[in-house]
Symmetry: C2
Subunit: 336 residues, 2 copies
């Protein structure tokens, strides 16, 4: 069995391609030295794994000076954690490389997880035109599919930012001051402080779109991912506190930020869709931001067939979709 | 001698009101437990201090749930670090309070440093209409003076954000993704990643507006405040690295972000000026962002008399202007 690993800057994800999946918050930029240990523990949870299929975005984490350095560190950590298991790294042309080949051409394996996801998702949307929308904690991938195959305009991260296929905004980690510039307060528009006081997690906690997670403290202020703490964080985003911004006022602030994020995603999705040969007849959704993806489709008036990976394969697989994808693609591949 | 202390969320500032001043980076939100010790060390550098005149903005740091809690913790830390010296806390009505009175009415001492600065600066600009512009690492204060006295529309932080008198953007700590949304890259407009990859410090390092500080590592990635590391950080802000964004491309990115910040400040300054009884005949400048304040005046076509505190009192005092102000105001006050 191939275990799929998706190694990001904020989360480690593992999936066996058969329905089991794990997501572990892991701030790589702060805990780089613990990566081997964290991976070894994650791999140990899948006793049947005899090979590791790897994809990553963590090479962008700012503990690395360049992407090449990041790819080298991550591949090295996987090999050390692999305990002798085979390691294959997914490339953004759909092939797998051994560790040495991956290191020789690092930009082909950097940030390739979207391609693996799209290759896998294509089987659910083999029509002439389709779209994959994966909205996660930090980023959103909008990948055009033509006859079930990825048909992107960009390959690298900045190319994909330009094309709208990567929108670097998500439903948990995005600073609210990057999503919106002004929010309503006491009948005025109040500029948000340009400071990491609150994130989109707080917005969707307050609006009830994401469940409370009292054990998660990887929030803007290190306090729990609860609605009460989210209220405090959103008040702080305009340099206030809960005595100056009551619950209803915090909800109004949250709605304004959610609306700004929806605008950004709808604008990008509209551009990506405009490059397809025809209006998409299927949309494949994955990630913990599926609720937001559905709002984007509604905003665009795209009442097309929706394939929800959460409904089809379960929420755990949906939130680790690229790890699941590389596991499945590796199992289907024939390695020399 | 009264020692002025300005206790912020990112920096501790001390000044004796006679020309000596110190700025110590101190991330209060991470090192709250070390505040007493850090203050004691700072106070010890001024052997003639027999009283402490205090102002603050650090109560907003997200280690505190509310401003009242933050004020209480900061006043308590000052009293503990004071070694028996008298402690007076500046209020946003221009008076000083003892520690107990400050705690009884915490919102009057929270974020009052702008008021102390304006009271002090008024002596350099006694005309009918004048403006104080203090641009620091994190925030910018734009304070209207009428006949040399502060004449603000807002008192609290959110009120001042609404009025434009507080612009929560600065020349070092502001995340670039909060300042701008898109930057030029290879002839395209590329959205910035909504992530704390780079700050305005990198922008002004690259453009040569701020000097390199290789010993300072309170940057976005914990690497030094050098031009080379700033290049890496700005490249990462569009999910690239130095191999994909050369020096000239990084400069173009920096210019676009600087331009966006200038726009925001000019818009706010224009609004603040419009509420003065007439066009200001003097502008008092302070803070490490004086270069940016001068660009704002130029943009607004305001060729008025400029009083630079850096030129008048020296750059150290200018960068700790509110601490200098409370020291001077305390020395001039008669306490019961």
């Amino acid at each position: 069995m191939w275990l799929g690993l998706d190694i990001g800057g904020a989360n480690l994800k593992a999936a066996d391609g058969r329905g089991a999946a794990r997501l572990r918050p892991f701030p790589l930029w702060r805990r780089r030295g613990e990566l081997v240990q964290a991976l070894a523990e994650l791999i140990a949870e899948f006793s049947e794994a005899d090979g590791l299929a790897v994809t990553m975005t963590g090479e962008l984490a700012d503990c690395f000076e360049t992407k090449a350095q990041g790819v080298a560190a991550i591949v090295d950590a996987v090999v050390k954690a692999a305990g002798g298991r085979a390691v294959r790294v997914y490339r953004n042309d759909g092939s797998f490389a051994g560790p040495q080949d991956a290191l020789a051409d690092p930009l082909t394996v950097a940030a390739a997880n979207w391609h693996a996801l799209a290759r896998f998702a294509g089987r659910y949307a083999p029509q002439k035109s389709a779209l994959v929308m994966d909205i996660g904690s930090t980023t959103c991938d909008l990948i055009p599919l033509v006859h079930g195959l990825p048909s992107p305009r960009g390959r690298t991260d900045p190319e994909r930012l330009v094309s709208g296929e990567l929108v670097y905004t998500g439903v948990q980690r995005s600073p609210v001051c990057a999503v919106a510039s002004r929010v309503p307060w006491r009948g005025f528009l109040c500029p948000l402080a340009q400071e990491l006081f609150a994130t989109t997690w707080d917005v969707y906690l307050l609006l009830g779109d994401l469940p409370e997670a009292p054990d998660r403290t990887d929030t803007a202020d290190g306090r729990p991912a609860t609605r009460q703490a989210a209220h405090d964080r959103l008040a702080r985003a305009i340099c206030a506190d809960r005595t100056m911004v009551d619950w209803a006022a915090a909800e109004a602030i949250a709605r304004a930020i959610a609306e700004a994020q929806l605008d950004q995603l709808a604008e990008a999705a509209d551009r990506v869709i405009s490059m397809l040969p025809e209006r998409p007849t299927s949309v494949v959704l994955s990630g913990q931001g599926e609720f937001l993806a559905r709002r984007v489709l509604e905003r665009l008036g795209l009442s097309t067939r929706i394939v929800s990976l959460a409904e089809t394969l379960g929420p755990d697989v949906s939130c680790t979709a690229a790890a699941h994808a590389v596991a499945v693609l590796a199992a289907e591949s024939t390695f020399a």
